[in-house]
């Protein structure tokens, strides 16, 4: 089963809420769902659309084609009609559609205006009708309306009922039976990052609003009181990362969230984190650049930038979650590794992952061990002398927090000696460079294997190689391709620094061909792999128009 419903309208018409209601209602029925938002960078007007896919198994990709299009105005109707399946249904106000179409029409605007005294509720009326068409129970829809609108549920509850009751249609697919759902959760990638941060004990977040980094800021702000987190909107991104490093030095697990442009301003601070070996987690929600670019669209253009950002050389952990579920666990892992190795942990997501709703297996924070990586006051008390940058085999020096013992804690952005004092001794310099870089070896051992599908050898197969949020689209594409001819495989990277070079060498050794699939124009993953291994993908499928990949798009390109 794979049903696609698209709701499209202007900004301000509540498209986002309608999408969420629909997705939630479906989730409540026990299905898996993926809700993808496509919107213009403005507050009112413009083009907003949400594409809701309903499946009986997990779904992490969107679709160009839709089975049902709920159009809230003429412009959207025309824009999206070409993407409606031949057998698909159009749902719209009766004033928009000329007779003779395969459409479900209602005088929704009139009812909303006259009966509900709330013109904006017209969308909910149409949604009610669409729900009936899909065979979703009215109860699920009303529950979802209540969840999404909260106090403002009335007159939207009425509107949903109105659309449902008065549209006299048969369910499109013979009805969607509700069944007991298993242990699943419904959330966006942005919420997953936020929840992962809280689960990992994040205590401080400073950030400056920037799409699509903001949802993480807002999620943490809303949970700040309950979980004892200091969330501060900084005056700029430079302040954000320096505040975060200050807070981290003082003992708080710290985070910043931004997009590529804001990260550009944090680069000096990133380098500081490398030098003072102070953990910080940096969430970068990618969007198309350069510069302001397309603020509300998606991309994978910041990989090489994030990996090489910062003057001087120091290790970093970088993860690009594949799904919202993955985002939760990798965020926890980024915090843990940042704390354990005293390195920056970078989370590279994108607008598509951050904004899309999905259904995932229930998140279990117990899966990632969260523990303190600093010396207890008791341990410190026992020490004669404490040196923050003491030389160790692993490169990781025992960490103390200031003010917990008699020992003082000194960190310095200049090259420093083991205690932390500024030094110009070029012998110590050499040792310190090596100490810092040595941490990469430990980090490399923490990596999981790249995700591979189908399991087993890749011999003779064409490998579709991806990273980050393209996971769902690539996986589906491989499934579709293998239906015709079982010669494809999917290898997906979720941890990119350190790079799992051995695993990649195996891929190249076995595979017939490697096709990189990336949301950028230059093939950044390919370059990264080649830089470290000399191995180069044989082909690149690139998308850089700001929209997410879909399985059909990939299948088409692969089959060229």
């Amino acid at each position: 089963m794979d049903l696609v419903v698209r709701v499209a309208g202007a900004a301000g018409q509540g498209v986002q809420s309608l999408g969420e209601i629909l997705a939630r209602a479906v989730f409540r029925c026990g299905y898996f769902v993926h809700g993808e938002f496509s919107y213009h960078s403005r507050i009112r007007g413009g083009e907003n659309a949400v594409t809701v896919r309903i499946r009986d198994r997990p779904v992490f990709a969107t679709s160009e084609q839709a089975d049902v299009l709920v159009a809230l105005n003429q412009e959207m109707l025309e824009l999206y009609r070409p993407w409606l399946q031949e057998k698909g249904y159009l749902v719209a106000d009766e004033r928009l559609i000329s007779s003779g179409e395969k459409a479900l029409t209602l005088p929704a605007e009139e009812w909303a205006r006259k009966e509900l005294k709330q013109p904006l509720a017209a969308g909910v009326v149409l949604l009610g009708a669409a729900a009936r068409l899909l065979g979703i129970s009215l109860e699920s829809v009303k529950n979802a309306v209540a969840e999404v609108f909260g106090e403002k549920a009335e007159p939207n509850l009425q509107a949903a009922e109105m659309g449902y009751a008065r549209s006299d249609t048969k369910p499109f697919m013979g009805g969607l039976p509700c069944f007991g759902r298993g242990e699943t959760m419904f959330l966006t990638g942005g919420q997953a990052v936020g929840a992962g941060a809280i689960a990992a004990g994040c205590r401080f977040l400073a950030s400056y609003p920037m799409t699509p980094g903001t949802p993480v800021l807002e999620f943490l702000a809303q949970n700040a009181q309950a979980y004892g987190i200091v969330v501060e909107q900084a005056e700029d991104e430079i302040a954000a990362i320096n505040m975060a490093l200050g807070a981290s030095y003082a003992g708080a697990r710290s985070m910043v969230t931004t997009s590529g442009g804001g990260f550009a301003l944090m680069v000096e601070g990133l380098s500081l984190a490398g030098m003072i070996e102070t953990p910080v987690v940096i969430h970068i929600g990618q969007r198309p650049g350069p510069a302001t670019g397309l603020p509300t669209r998606t991309s994978q253009e910041n990989l090489l930038f994030a990996l090489h950002a910062g003057h001087g050389e120091f290790p970093r952990y970088l993860a690009a979650p594949a799904t919202a579920e993955d985002a939760f666990y990798l965020t926890m892992k980024a915090f843990e590794l940042a704390e354990k190795y005293h390195v920056p942990g970078i989370l590279l997501t994108d607008q598509f992952l951050v904004d899309s709703f999905v259904v995932v297996p229930a998140l279990d924070p117990g899966k990632v061990a969260v523990q303190n990586h600093w010396l207890s006051p008791e341990e410190l008390e026992k020490m004669e002398r404490y040196e923050r940058f003491a030389l160790t085999e692993s490169g990781v020096s025992p960490r103390a927090l200031p003010g917990l013992s008699k020992h003082l804690v000194l960190v310095d952005s200049d090259e420093h000696d083991f205690y932390g004092r500024i030094t110009e001794d070029l012998g110590i310099r050499k040792v310190m460079v090596e100490k810092r870089l040595r941490k990469e070896q430990g980090l490399a051992k923490e990596l999981e294997a790249p995700w591979t599908y189908p399991q087993g050898s890749l011999r003779g197969r064409t490998v579709l190689l991806g990273w980050g949020s393209t996971f769902g689209a690539i996986r589906e594409a491989v499934e579709i391709l293998n239906e015709k001819e079982d010669g494809y495989a999917h290898v997906h990277l979720r941890e990119l620094s350190p790079l799992p070079t051995e695993a990649l060498e195996r891929v190249w050794n076995q595979a017939k061909e490697v096709i990189a699939i990336e949301g950028n124009a230059t093939g950044q993953l390919g370059k990264l792999i080649s830089a470290d291994t000399g191995l180069r993908p044989h082909r690149l499928i690139a998308r850089y128009d700001g929209r997410p990949f879909t399985s059909s798009g990939i299948v088409q390109e692969v089959s060229r």
Partner: protein, 286 residues
């Protein structure tokens, strides 16, 4: 504790002979002594510059961060560890040039930190370029025909932004500087102490003698530091007299007092969450 307890020994000091920075270091140590603060309870946050090296010459915790970001890092520390005394100290180039934005906005936040500006009116470490407080006409290798921008008046700026505590002193007066620093640390909320000091290596105009002739004490002239308009007038006054002392102070809650989380706890020290603690959070996704 006496002053010496706060002075590191065995560390070579990279300041030039005759520099005002030495006196400020003494004043800081003296202030910590007046306040009887255990060294481990204090964090000295500095940036980059000659002044900023003080983190290595004073015996407290130290965060010697990036040029210009001193106040930002200090605010971050204080927000998660209100149990610590946080002092941000750096040069005029660092605090007023590169770091201008953090100064303004942390005055607004009114975080309870004390900012000590070593104001030598030059960029010392990078060899004498004009700083934001340099006088019009001042010539350097980077400003060969003299500065044409008007100097920043840090006191006027801070008073107009309603900073909680604004003072100025002269490095030549160690005891008084120490008292002003101590008073700034005691005062709840954001404190700025601008310490004028000669830079014998670069600044040939504002010498020790030059300051000595011009500084006067506002207290002695009966200034009421609660009067914002009067304070602004003193700060903006042109001419040959330079005010020292507390120009402005106001009472009122600090960031820490008003913040629902910070007022309750030092979040950095609260235990890490257990899986069970997260149930309410995750339940919302179910």
């Amino acid at each position: 504790m006496n002053r010496e307890a706060y002075l590191t020994d065995g560390v070579e000091i990279a300041w030039c002979p005759g520099c005002g920075n030495f006196a400020i270091r003494q004043a800081l140590a003296r202030a910590l002594g007046i306040l009887e603060l255990p060294p481990e309870r204090v964090v000295l946050v500095t940036g980059i510059g000659q002044a900023a090296k003080i983190a290595h010459y004073v015996n407290v915790n130290g965060f010697n961060g990036l040029h210009g970001r001193t106040v930002a890092a200090a605010a971050g520390i204080k927000m998660v560890r209100p149990d610590l005394v946080v002092i941000a100290e750096s040069g005029d180039g660092d605090l007023y040039g590169e770091g201008g934005n953090h100064l303004i906005h942390n005055i607004r936040r009114n975080v309870d930190i004390t900012v000590i500006a070593h104001d030598n009116r030059v960029y010392g470490l990078t060899k004498g370029q004009a700083s934001p407080t340099a006088a019009v006409g001042y010539k350097t290798r980077a400003q060969p025909f003299g500065v044409i921008s008007r100097p920043l008046h840090p006191l006027a700026l801070a008073i107009a932004l309603d900073a909680a505590f604004v003072a100025q002193s002269f490095s030549g007066e160690v005891e008084r500087t120490a008292e002003l620093i101590a008073e700034g640390v005691r005062h709840r909320g954001f404190s700025l102490i601008n310490v004028l000091h000669p830079c014998p290596s670069w600044n040939r105009v504002q010498t020790f003698a030059w300051y000595k002739e011009r500084v006067y004490s506002v207290e002695k002239e009966g200034h009421d530091p609660r009067d914002q308009a009067a304070a602004l007038k003193l700060a903006l006054a042109e001419g040959d007299r330079i005010p020292t002392g507390i120009l402005y102070r106001r009472e009122g809650p600090s960031f820490e007092d008003l913040h629902p989380v910070v007022s309750r706890t030092s979040v950095a020290l609260s235990p890490l969450p257990q899986p069970a603690d997260l149930r309410p959070l995750l339940a919302r996704f179910q």
